[in-house]
Amino acid sequence: MSAHLDDRPRFADPDAAYRAIIEAHRGLSNEDSAALNAALVLILANQLGDQAALEEALALARASLPPR
């Protein structure tokens, strides 16, 4: 576990959570999909409400990017 970020599995039904995200994108253009993601990140960051945890999440996400 990271110092601030809770990275344990937290959803009782992760498939349902994943599906909800996917369905929110159904029928959107790539631009609208990207805009939805940006809005969603800001909403979830506010829900997190923890600067240190947010920065750990950002570092984890960045580390997951494929090498270019």
Partner: protein
């Protein structure tokens, strides 16, 4: 490959019904001698009901169909008397590996939970299972009629008249109940003009069975975007006899006729396996569908298995859910034919198995969407989940290459008596019960699944005197008294949240009908009436 020789062949034999002056009358006619129809025929036979089974073929087909049989199905097979050969021939695996591009993302080990008679699942070619079911059905004297093709169906005076074609010409049968277990292309469904509605996936999948001569670990391997098949996915799954199932995702535009050619398939599999020591046994190409009939009962015709609902194969929910349809239907048909049931009992088959079909369609749709993302946005999320899964256990739980088939809890069943007492766990009414380890009254290890009766059972925890039961119920009294079963290691009490004097009324298909902290004869009798649709 795709050889013409059948796995097993059976002789057509004329039946005296074919020369009877009037259409012979039967309580149940089952159309289709696949795993679903055969399971139902055996179950009915064990309940004293003679069903006729009609099949338009005279052989068990070879090739790639069901391979994964889950615990619930094995428990049903055990009750039907075919689990032993299925377990003996089937292979068990517990290590899976997930790859992305050329790297292993992670591996998992499905450690089996102790205290169950049956394993979580086994892999076995469907043709073996069918042969074992046919052997069992024939040993019990089930009336199996090969090369009997149903050509017409019509309602007549509350019963159903079937027109049947045979090598000796046509004949007719009248059935109180017809059960259509005639597969995903169900001719009976077509004859009744019923809509089969749902979703069709764009991507095509190439399904190949290969026989390998080289050693290969008994594991399930799933690749996302493998180097030998860029941008797609691939599954490798073990079957007995050194046969491996390969599911390769193709593009929506791929030309099926070109893709299925051995000269096209072989090099791809060589790169996947890293060697060429294999023989192609079977190749087919599918476009998967998730769809179902809106209702499973149409007058005197009841639909079960693929004829009623169809899913993509990820999660092994086709044959497993079909056998569970048969398990749900058998005792209800038998009780209805014996005049013991109310009309609500047979109707509950539609409600309960609809809930199961919807759950199976939901699960297999989710897995198919993860494996074959439908848009750029979906692909981004899929690849992000995979990238995080290398290091993050939470992300592994989003990775979905098929969820193991589990029996459905009938949450809204009209047969269930809602809880009136406080429970801190255990199994809610409508839920499928798990097995548990017991010690038999005479000593020696046993399982709950072996203690239950063919009809309804009461699972009751002592000490004291168990309640008096209505006729026909099996009592499984757990305690220290004579003739009582003992909880082997506390698992039974834990799994069922049992306390002294508590009882579970269990249906013949192993679902909870009702449970009481104080199981009195009056409460049990009332719950039994409800569970029989009376």
């Amino acid at each position: 490959m795709n050889a013409a020789a059948p796995f097993a062949q059976f002789a057509y034999a004329p039946h005296h019904d074919q020369i009877a002056p009037a259409a012979a009358h039967h309580p149940v006619v089952i159309v289709g001698a696949g795993p679903v129809g055969l399971s139902l025929a055996i179950d009915l036979k064990l309940r004293g009901i003679d069903a006729v089974v009609l099949d338009d073929s005279d052989r068990i087909g070879d090739g790639s169909r069901a391979i994964c049989f889950a615990k619930r199905t094995l428990e049903i097979f055990d009750r039907l008397g075919v689990a032993a050969p299925v377990l003996e021939k089937g292979v068990r695996w517990q290590v899976g590996r997930v790859f992305q591009a050329d790297a292993e993302l992670y591996r998992f080990d499905l450690l089996p939970e102790p205290g169950h008679k049956m394993p979580a699942f086994i892999n076995l070619q469907q043709y073996y299972v069918e042969k074992m079911l046919i052997d069992r059905a024939l040993a019990l004297g089930v009336d199996l009629r090969w090369l009997n093709r149903v050509a017409g169906v019509e309602a007549r005076d509350g019963e159903t008249l079937l027109s049947i074609e045979t090598p000796d010409g046509p004949y007719r049968l009248v059935a109180e109940h017809v059960v259509a277990c005639d597969g995903s292309r169900s001719p009976l469904r077509a004859m009744l003009g019923l809509d089969f509605v749902g979703e069709r996936f764009e991507d095509q999948f190439l399904i190949a069975d290969v026989r390998m001569t080289a050693d290969f670990p008994v594991e399930r391997w799933f690749w996302f975007d493998p180097p030998f098949h860029a941008g797609r996915s691939c599954l490798l799954h073990k079957q007995p006899d050194n046969v491996w199932r390969i599911d390769l995702q193709l593009s929506p535009e791929a030309d099926a006729e070109v893709e299925r050619r051995p000269e096209k398939v072989r090099p791809r599999i060589e790169r996947m396996l890293g060697h060429a020591d294999f023989v192609l046994e079977w190749i087919s190409i599918y476009r998967f569908q998730c769809r179902r009939l809106a209702r499973f009962i149409h007058g005197g015709v009841i639909f079960a298995g693929d004829a009623a609902h169809q899913v993509s194969p990820f999660g092994a929910r086709g044959a497993n859910s079909g056998v569970q349809d048969a398990d749900n239907l058998g005792w209800k048909l038998a009780a209805t034919l014996r005049g013991e049931a109310g009309p609500a009992l047979l109707d509950s088959y539609d409600a309960e198995r609809s809930e199961a079909a919807d759950e199976n369609i939901l699960n297999s749709t989710r897995a198919t969407d993860f494996i074959a993302p439908r848009s750029k946005a979906e692909l981004l999320f899929r690849d992000a989940a995979l990238a995080l899964a290398r290091t993050q256990p939470f992300a592994r739980r989003f990775v979905n290459s098929g969820r193991l088939s589990m029996p459905t809890a009938y949450t809204a069943s009209a047969l269930s008596t809602p809880d009136g007492d406080a429970w801190s766990g255990g199994l809610v009414p409508g839920a499928p019960i798990p097995d548990a380890p017991l010690v038999a009254p005479g000593g020696g290890p046993a399982f709950l699944s072996e203690a239950l009766g063919q009809g309804f059972s009461l699972l009751w925890l002592g000490p004291g005197s168990p309640p008096r039961l209505p006729a026909g119920l099996t009592l499984v009294a757990v305690g220290e008294g004579p003739g009582q079963w003992r909880d082997a290691n506390g698992e039974l009490v834990r799994r069922f949240d049992l306390t002294s004097g508590a009882g579970y009324l269990l249906r013949p298909d192993g679902h909870v009908a009702a449970r009481f902290r104080a199981a009195t004869p009056a409460r049990i009798a009332a719950a039994l009436d409800k569970a029989m649709g009376r």
